[in-house]
């Protein structure tokens, strides 16, 4: 198992990876498209890779997720892109063109690497994290912060709404989920 540099040994588990995976499956997600992110590596990606109910497609670069999810949408298959915020930033044009302008339900779960979960992303110590919510707002993309177990209940309604109203959504993972 990779060293968890952000989780102190005595830190209380505040966000269970198993609960997030359960919410993903309850949202009728069939495909998870991902580039590994150390925030979600152990708590989400590794259990998803083992889960027979989810098909994991490992991609080389995050914008591929946007195209693949779009293709699946035409086939009435739900997909979730599991990426780091850096990959989100790298994929802005794909998200702009495919998700926003084409009004497609591209669902993204974005790890906020370097974020201090005791504050808000807008006040994060990491510049890259501070700009994520303003960018999502500018693009008109709904977003939800998943910071502790009490936030996990936001996942299914957010994904269902994205598919019902055909728009993208971003679920921001504010701390490392437990493995």
């Amino acid at each position: 198992m990779a060293t968890d540099a952000l989780l102190e040994p005595d830190e209380k588990i505040r966000l269970k990876g198993s609960a997030i995976v359960a919410a993903i499956k309850a949202s009728k997600i069939e495909f998870v498209l991902s580039v590994p992110d150390i925030v979600t590596s152990e708590g989400l990606l590794r259990p998803i890779a083992r889960d027979p109910q989810l098909r994991l497609i490992r991609v080389c670069k995050e914008d591929e997720c946007i195209g693949i999810a779009s293709g699946l949408y035409y086939c009435d298959k739900r997909a979730l892109s599991l990426i780091q915020y850096t990959g989100f930033l790298d994929s802005i044009n794909a998200i702009r063109g495919v998700a926003v302008e084409y009004r497609q339900p591209i669902c993204m779960m974005i790890g906020l690497l370097g974020h201090d979960p005791e504050t808000t992303p807008r006040n994060s110590p990491r510049y890259g994290v501070r700009i994520i919510e303003p960018i999502l707002d500018a693009m008109g993309i709904p977003h939800h912060l998943i910071n502790d177990d009490g936030d996990v209940g936001k996942i299914r309604p957010a994904i269902d709404d994205a598919y019902a109203a055909s728009h993208p959504v971003a679920l921001l993972i504010g701390r490392r989920p437990s493995s």
């Binding site: 497609i57 699946l72 298959k77 495919v98």
Partner: protein, 185 residues
């Protein structure tokens, strides 16, 4: 050989396949006629092959043909590795290599001699072809699109006549709705 000539040959063999095309390839393919199973992915250059993979995963019962330009593939070279890892039997991936960003002024790609077929072979595509002779392509096209994939084929083409890019038409939301409806039947 020229792109529009290759597409006319390809069209003789296309029936219920989903065809994804972008930019100049989309213009030439649309010249051959409207069909609901066309998907013109314009606006995020390079993603056409990723759209194709999504469609191939979502509809394994249908064959998916991607008509990608060389400039587009260069923007998403990682897709070759992703597609090869997934091994979709129903995906046929053409790259139309004219060595230029035709829709953006005709400037050359960084290396016009790049060997995409070698890249696809190295990535792990099951079937890899390269065509530069129209008669040979005419003889092989029907076979190529029926092979178990992932199939990759480079079409080495000359620059085409100047095209008119009617982006509002290509972007039209009605086309995407028609594709979705056709796939629900």
């Amino acid at each position: 050989m020229k792109r529009d000539e290759c597409f006319r040959i390809l069209a003789r063999h296309v029936t219920d396949e989903i065809v994804i095309a972008t930019y100049s390839s989309a213009v030439d393919w649309l010249e051959l006629g409207e069909r609901p199973l066309n998907y013109f992915s314009v606006g995020a250059m390079g993603l056409d092959s990723s759209h194709a993979l999504g469609l191939a995963l979502g509809r394994p019962d249908r064959r998916i043909i991607c008509l990608q330009g060389d400039g587009s593939l260069l923007m998403n070279l990682g897709c070759l590795v992703t597609i090869a890892a997934v091994q979709p039997k129903n995906l046929i991936h053409f790259v139309v290599q004219n060595g230029a960003y035709e829709a953006n002024g005709g400037h050359p790609i960084p290396n016009t001699a790049v060997d995409f077929a070698a890249m696809a072979r190295g990535a792990g595509y099951v079937q890899v072809h390269a065509f530069s002779d129209l008669a040979n392509f005419a003889q092989q096209a029907g076979h190529v699109i029926k092979q178990d994939g992932p199939v990759f084929a480079t079409l080495h083409v000359e620059p085409s006549k100047p095209l008119t890019y009617d982006y509002p038409n290509l972007y039209d939301a009605g086309r995407r709705a028609a594709l979705k409806a056709a796939l629900q039947q």
